[in-house]
Symmetry: C2
Subunit: 98 residues, 2 copies
């Protein structure tokens, strides 16, 4: 879909796939209790890509070709409204919710 007027802002969340090693997540999970935050679990670290794009339907292709490594990463695309609030959300083709 194309937009007339204001260019939509899109947020892409990229996470290691379930079962794939997440060394950054492990490092954070280990560091937090040592810093006095014991009650944390299930920590994952991924990437955040935000961009203005005229044709939102192209974002999935951008993820497949550049933004995510779909062998080891899942991605999730969300449209954000101009003030940064979350508006709507679509998951990538094989992105399970965590």
């Amino acid at each position: 879909m194309k937009y007339i007027g204001r260019v939509p802002r899109v947020r892409v969340l990229i996470r290691p796939k379930e079962g794939i090693l997440d060394p950054q997540g492990k490092a954070v999970a280990r560091a937090l209790p040592a810093l006095g935050f014991p009650a944390v679990d299930n920590v994952h670290v991924g990437r955040l890509v935000e961009l203005d794009v005229e044709d939102v339907s192209q974002v999935e292709a951008m993820c497949e070709r550049l933004l995510a490594n779909t062998l080891i990463e899942d991605y999730e695309v969300a449209l954000v409204s101009p003030d940064g609030e979350h508006q709507s959300q679509t998951a990538g083709p094989d992105a399970p919710r965590r």
Copy 2:
């Protein structure tokens, strides 16, 4: 605040502060047109941290002490419901919306 029962899942979005160099964002902004996606602008790459935490009020301190480098990064904390949908959102102390 503490939760009884299910442990809340929290999503932290970490971005380079406005005016701080964002080489990954620049690289993506340059690569996308070369891959056939010309209509992109204002690309930023940051980090995504998701974790289960009993005491959500501690997440800001976690960001300040470990998750974000607050000299050069802003962070934003959002609570996500168990199915991964977005529920509510609070920004860090000095996080401007982009």
